[in-house]
């Protein structure tokens, strides 16, 4: 599931609330562009970035969905969401883009243990 040299990028902020989401994804893209394996874990409000019906951005802002769709072009294939957070936000998985793996609550600490490098946004 996790390789020791992979970078885990944790996304915890929603689109259109701050720049944390975009700048977190930027870090993931740059790491991937340099050839580092990157895994993404979405927790809390960060899950909102995965809603498949997101429209284009609020006036003057870029949308997030194109970046989420682009991740596979950067070979970022591991997109995990916390099952607990999904339930907490009452979001059904079929509302999210394809290719998301839900992670049960008891396995979240394991993900953190398995990655030597973590960036938390």
């Amino acid at each position: 599931m996790a390789t020791p040299d992979a970078l885990l990028v944790v996304i915890r902020h929603a689109p259109h609330s701050s720049n944390w989401l975009r700048e977190g994804l930027d870090a993931a893209l740059v790491a991937a562009a340099f050839g580092q394996p990157v895994h993404l874990l979405f927790m809390g409000q960060g899950i909102m970035a995965l809603l498949k019906e997101q429209g284009s951005g609020a006036p003057g802002q870029k949308a997030t969905l194109p970046i989420i769709d682009m991740l596979e072009m950067y070979d970022i294939d591991a997109l995990w969401v916390s099952e607990e957070a999904l339930q907490g936000l009452r979001i059904r998985q079929d509302l999210l883009v394809d290719g998301i793996t839900p992670v049960p609550a008891q396995e979240i600490p394991m993900l953190f243990q398995q990655h030597a490098k973590i960036l938390n946004f």
């Binding site: 970078l7 720049n19 944390w20 700048e23 930027d26 870090a27 740059v30 790491a31 340099f34 580092q36 490098k117 960036l119 938390n120």
Partner: protein
């Protein structure tokens, strides 16, 4: 046993809006006092404002920009700022100002504008990597 570790610091909080830069600076001095080294400080997100050379707090308050400069002068610690995060927020070095046709600049050495690759490199090189945000 744990002496001579190399620390990397990531600062993402803005000066005077977030306590993060103060915490990071105090931590930096404590690292050095315990005999460790700081491999570098990287400023990202709102932390890029720490590099603003026009910062002018009242005289009886700590000038965070100056405090970072002193840390660099005393211990030769690199101070790197994410260039994309900085440009978005109106922070530019002299060469960036020239490239963008701007009449002034507000980032100067020892602060350096650089890519996110530097952040990833710092994380790889450091024995300990700590975020202040």
């Amino acid at each position: 046993m744990h002496h001579g570790l190399h620390y990397g610091l990531l600062v993402m909080g803005a000066p005077y809006s977030s306590p993060a830069p103060h915490s990071a600076l105090r931590f930096a001095h404590a690292i050095i006092a315990r005999g460790h080294k700081i491999a570098g400080v990287f400023f990202y997100h709102d932390g890029v404002h720490n590099g603003a050379s026009l910062m002018a707090p009242p005289q009886d308050e700590l000038n965070l920009h100056e405090a970072w400069r002193e840390l660099n002068q005393q211990h030769a610690i690199p101070l790197d700022i994410c260039i994309a995060a900085a440009l978005r927020r109106g922070l530019m070095s002299e060469s960036e100002a020239q490239r963008h046709g701007q009449p002034a600049f507000n980032v100067a050495p020892p602060f350096e504008l650089t890519g996110l690759g530097q952040l990833l490199d710092l994380q790889q090189r450091a024995d300990r990597f700590i975020t202040f945000a």
